[in-house]
Subunit: 231 residues, 2 copies
């Protein structure tokens, strides 16, 4: 696992949907790791409340807030943590601001009420659809689909879950894996953006396991990597 | 993990495609666990050779052989371990012999040459397509998609990989989980047969990881189950 980069090398991170559990969990962990984060929301009130609470927990003014376009414009790394039903409209709203940037899309195409059943979206992957929509000028990377949100919010415990990282741009994937390492998780190169179909579908399997075994947060680990070159 | 059932309770297991790596690996491990196995092949010569070698390794006459229809007729549990391109024709050949039985389908819809890239089959899951083809009188259970075949063949080492088990018939899934436990692996209820789309797709992710990290057999473990009721 890599050490966190020094302060000068820490890019600002914008989180669209930053008032949800995944968004707040990531903001909290990146804030703890010394990153400056801006959370974006369609509700200014919610965003102000969430950032105030996060800054209080962090003991420093690490988390700013604003509207989607404002925060997306402010950072070279943009993270999408909105529900599936809001994914496309959120991306469309900021699309012209994303050229040359890395968009980390955490979307899982859950279709309530049957969230424990794999229901593949058109084309197989919700994140690959975003890469296709945005074109190759935006470096879309899929990550965090399988990490239980409440584990991200619980700073008292390590997160016992790997993060499968898919993307067509290997350097962008590597940058995201460094950002994941900075918050104490292991990111793993999981192939091109098309492979996000697997990690997205796996989330319904984990929800099914949670229900069957009455546990709060099943996750995954990749085995067989010991001794591997983790570059 | 459950103890193996006593001899009287051990059903015969037929393995179609039993001369391949997955088929031989499963035959070897079930043979070691006291089960009688029959491997089916389209080549009588290959089947005779494989069963002779397995029996020699097992030190008892545990593994018989025959054609697809002969072995499928002989056992209440039928396992399918043929390549994706041969899956449908193999099932069609024995379909009328499967009523009331459990069909454990290990198929992964790999489409060479891009086997490290998720390429979803029509409908999303190759195994769900077989359940649909056979109708509900056959209890189709998906399993073993993510276990590296060479680990099954290596009796000297434990297999560091869970087996995600999908199927619409919960009792059939449970029976398969017992058969998995008998060979020292942990099977996990992973939901309805539709969820096999996730485990099948995950295999391409694991192949991608093998390539990227230069390891022979990446696998998966489900985390967050400790203390759970593993029933």
């Amino acid at each position: 696992m890599s050490a966190a980069p020094d302060a000068a090398a820490r890019p600002r991170i914008a989180i669209l949907g930053g008032t949800g559990n995944v968004g707040r969990g990531l903001a909290l962990r990146w804030g703890h790791a010394g990153y400056d984060v801006t959370i974006g929301s369609r509700s200014n009130e919610k965003a102000a409340q969430a950032s105030a609470q996060l800054n209080s927990e962090l003991g420093r003014n690490a988390v700013g807030h604003g509207g989607y376009r404002e925060v997306a414009a402010s950072a070279p790394i943009v993270v999408l943590t909105v529900p599936y039903a809001a994914q496309r409209s959120a991306v469309e709203e900021v699309a012209d601001l994303l050229a040359g940037k890395i968009l980390i899309d955490t979307t899982v195409p859950l279709m309530p009420p049957k969230v424990a059943r794999v229901q593949l979206p058109s084309g197989g992957s919700a994140v690959a659809a975003v890469q296709e929509m945005l074109g190759s000028s935006v470096r879309v990377v899929s990550a965090f689909q399988n990490v239980p949100a409440h584990l991200l919010l619980d700073m008292a415990h390590d997160v016992d879950c790997d993060v499968l990282v898919c993307g067509d741009d290997v350097a962008a994937r590597e940058t995201v894996i460094q950002l994941i390492a900075a918050i104490g998780l292991r990111g793993i190169h999981a192939g091109p953006i098309a492979n996000s179909a697997a990690t997205e579908a796996l989330t319904s399997v984990l929800i099914s396991i949670n229900s069957r075994y009455k546990v709060p947060g099943a996750g995954i680990r990749i085995t067989g990597l010991s001794g591997a070159d983790h570059a």
